[in-house]
């Protein structure tokens, strides 16, 4: 078996701080081909009732991938993400990501992989930006991700 961190229930993931600079918010939106003005144009964002541009949901999802695989390593395979957004990520703030293993499901078949369920929260200065549940497993070549 390749390297994968210990994943007992209660295992706490290292905290990660993401500085929310304007360039990061715009670059991640454009990298995902999301041209909605609320993710890059402050004037139009204000016209839509928010004080500034804010991070897109897909960008937040990308930071969740990063946070979980920073911990799980290259052998981690993300199988499921469920996320709910709270307060927006505005430029100039910092999102602090924390995570904890909340459940482990044993592999169903020999040679299969255990599934590790992690609760992830990303908070900025206004409160929780995202609350997510992520299922990650050690990568298995055969029957991977089934």
């Amino acid at each position: 078996m390749s390297d994968f961190p210990a994943y007992d229930v209660g295992t706490v993931l290292p905290t990660l701080e993401i500085p929310l600079d304007r360039t990061t918010i715009v670059a991640t939106a454009i990298a995902s081909q999301d041209f909605e003005d609320v993710h890059h144009d402050p004037g139009k964002a204000q016209g839509r009732g928010t004080p500034d541009i804010f991070m897109s949901i897909n960008s937040t999802n990308g930071f969740i991938d990063r946070y979980v695989t920073d911990w799980a390593g290259p052998n981690g395979q993300i199988r499921k993400v469920s996320l709910r957004l709270g307060v927006p990520n505005f430029p100039g703030d910092v999102m602090t990501m924390t995570g904890e293993v909340v459940a482990v499901r044993q592999a169903e078949a020999p040679g299969g992989a255990d599934e590790v369920e992690i609760k992830v929260v990303g908070r900025n200065s206004q409160g929780p930006h995202v609350t997510a549940t992520v299922v990650v497993a050690p990568y298995r070549r055969e029957g991977a991700a089934r």
């Binding site: 390749s2 990061t24 670059a27 991640t28 454009i30 990298a31 995902s32 081909q33 999301d34 041209f35 609320v38 839509r48 009732g49 897109s56 949901i57 897909n58 960008s59 999802n61 990308g62 930071f63 969740i64 991938d65 990063r66 695989t69 920073d70 390593g73 290259p74 052998n75 395979q77 993300i78 199988r79 499921k80 993400v81 469920s82 996320l83 709910r84 957004l85 990568y139 298995r140 070549r141 991977a144 991700a145 089934r146």
Partner: protein, 190 residues
């Protein structure tokens, strides 16, 4: 907007539930390493399996893989089409797809703003360079109207199924968004 009026609008919106939202979205290009690299650099994601074939091979994978959260990127319409859609919307031209008819109906009643609130993705198969992705969209649910901190509005849930060129299911997604009227913003928290 008053209760009976929103009830009537909600009933009209509910008629769209279960319908194909719009024609399948087909990726403009195959999953590729350049787009993946731009994404991981923007996210400052150092996981080597997205960019380094050797590191991916060391985990038993046949090639680099695409970050799971990038699924929707492959079926985005691109800036040219985005501008066309914006122009049509500004001109009040309505495309004859269930989802565009539904959004036009919301626009008419002042529910012009949108914010994504929930996302659920199950990854059934890793996406790899060369995959040609197609996405099927279904309008799965419409909530009743309520007052939110952003404005009065309702939630729409879209079911999206991402498949490859062999019609193998890669990702199943539920995407929930709030469509709201920013002018109906009372001092309410919810």
């Amino acid at each position: 907007m008053s209760g009976p009026e929103t009830d009537a609008l909600h009933a009209q919106l509910t008629a769209f539930v279960g319908q194909q939202a719009e024609p399948d979205r087909v990726s403009r290009y195959a999953v590729n390493e350049a787009m993946i690299r731009n994404w991981v650099e923007a996210h400052e994601d150092e996981n080597p399996i997205y960019v380094d074939a050797g590191a991916a091979a060391a985990t038993g994978r046949a090639s680099v893989i695409c970050p799971p959260a990038m699924a929707s990127t492959w079926v985005m319409s691109g800036l040219k089409r985005y501008r066309e859609v914006q122009r049509l919307r500004a001109e009040g031209v309505q495309e004859d797809f269930a989802y565009s008819r539904m959004l036009a109906l919301l626009d008419e009643h002042g529910y012009t703003s949108v914010v994504a609130t929930d996302l659920e993705q199950s990854y059934l198969r890793e996406m790899v360079p060369g995959d040609r992705i197609r996405c099927e969209f279904t309008i799965e649910a419409v909530s009743p109207f309520k007052q939110t901190g952003l404005g009065h509005g309702c939630w729409i849930t879209l079911l999206k199924r991402y498949v490859n060129q062999h019609d193998e299911l890669l990702v199943e997604e539920r995407f929930k968004l709030l469509r709201f009227d920013p002018t109906q913003k009372k001092a309410v928290a919810s």
